[in-house]
Symmetry: C2
Subunit: 216 residues, 2 copies
DNA sequence: AATTAAAGTGAGTAATCACTCATTTTGACG
DNA sequence: CGTCAAAATGAGTGATTACTCACTTTAATT
């Protein structure tokens, strides 16, 4: 079997639902959009790389933009997946995570594996968000509706326990996300060839984050 | 006089060196590349917005890519400008900055003003770096030759004074940069419409950074 | 006023673009 | 094997692309 389980997982579909050719198209599109950008990639190039006729692409996706959205939408959902689970906040309040640090460690590790697995699709999402306002709006909507409120509850919970600095919750959320995202960006996009010791560097990043957010 | 001093400053040229039409072309290109991306912007659109004939663009720039580089190269240099000054490290060692915090404050404020002034050009640089490996290589070269070494000296200086955690200097550099860049990215790109109190939020960011990097 | 070089113009060009559609291939069924 | 619908094909379409070049306009100097 071809090693494409990740594609099914990303798109959240069963193996029977997608034909071999359709898989080839999606994989080729993800790779080329990630490398050259959506606008600079032609449908004929995608067809060539996927080993199908150009017309086949348009059998499955009405337009080139539809093909982009078929990649970007699932990736967007997976990007915030941990926060979509209902039991997520519940876990925090029922002492699944006794300290903010444990919560952060869980999220960090989880998102690290996520980026490692789906890097090209994630690149497509974030690169194209800069140019397509509809994608940006979708992200903002999902973030406000599913991430922000839950994250805020969690932060306030640990602030009341006296663990976290009394910054506005939005500030703590921002600093937490940019610290984690800053590592992942440096690790996988800016300097992927640097000889990283991932575990150590993540440990230092968490120490930095927790010291920075500690109540003083 | 048209308010275009920023363009001369960015390109680092005198006012006489560029004709009115050439300025129009550069400004239109910066705005459209920032909004729609280089590949999705046609030279005919740029000419229209600049109020010139399409041929005029190619009188000044041999190719469309040349036009992009005429924007990106100066922006890249300005992005790391503070580290290009020879006296920069000297200032640190001669107690111009007694503590790492003062150094960070100076850089932070300086880069905040920089991003605020040249935002569209900066967007072009970072967006297109993802797609043009020649731009990425140029950035890496400049960073290694002009930023990394000096930054490392500064970090080691304050580590020896016992101010900073004994993380590897590269880690401290990374955490410093991603914390500052994380604020600027959130402030100017991700959520530019949020009612920011810039001074307070930058103060909190510095507190976070210094506590995170403090020797424990 | 005449000269001249530089700046600007815009119609023209070959190549490529996203997309269509009449036709062929495929594979599951009787 | 024969039937048939779905999947796949690729030549063809009009629109758009980056770029060229013969020509005109501008403006400074004689």
């Amino acid at each position: 079997m071809d090693e494409r389980k990740w594609l099914f997982d990303l798109l959240n579909v069963e193996e029977q639902q997608l034909s071999e050719k359709q898989l080839n198209i999606l994989q080729a599109a993800i790779e080329m959009f990630a490398e050259k950008g959506y606008a600079a990639t032609s449908t004929s190039e995608i067809a060539k790389r996927a080993g199908v006729a150009e017309g086949t692409i348009f059998r499955h996706y009405k337009t080139k933009k539809d093909l982009l959205l078929a990649i970007v939408k699932p990736t967007l959902f997976q990007s915030v997946a941990p926060f979509l689970a209902k039991k997520f906040v519940k876990d925090v309040f029922e002492n699944e995570y006794e300290h903010y640090e444990q919560f952060v460690r869980a999220v960090f590790k989880n998102r690290y594996e996520f980026v490692k697995t789906y890097l090209p699709a994630i690149r497509v999402l974030w690169q194209e968000m800069a140019f397509h306002s509809d994608i940006k709006v979708q992200f903002q909507t999902i973030f406000i509706n599913h991430v922000y409120d839950k994250f805020k509850q969690i932060v306030e919970h640990f602030q009341q326990k006296g663990e976290l600095a009394l910054f506005p919750p939005e500030t703590i959320i921002r600093l937490t996300i940019t610290t984690i995202a800053g590592f992942l960006l440096t690790r996988f996009i800016v300097m992927p060839d640097y000889p990283w010791d991932d575990e150590q560097e993540m440990e230092r990043t968490i120490q930095f984050l927790m010291n920075g957010l500690k109540k003083t």
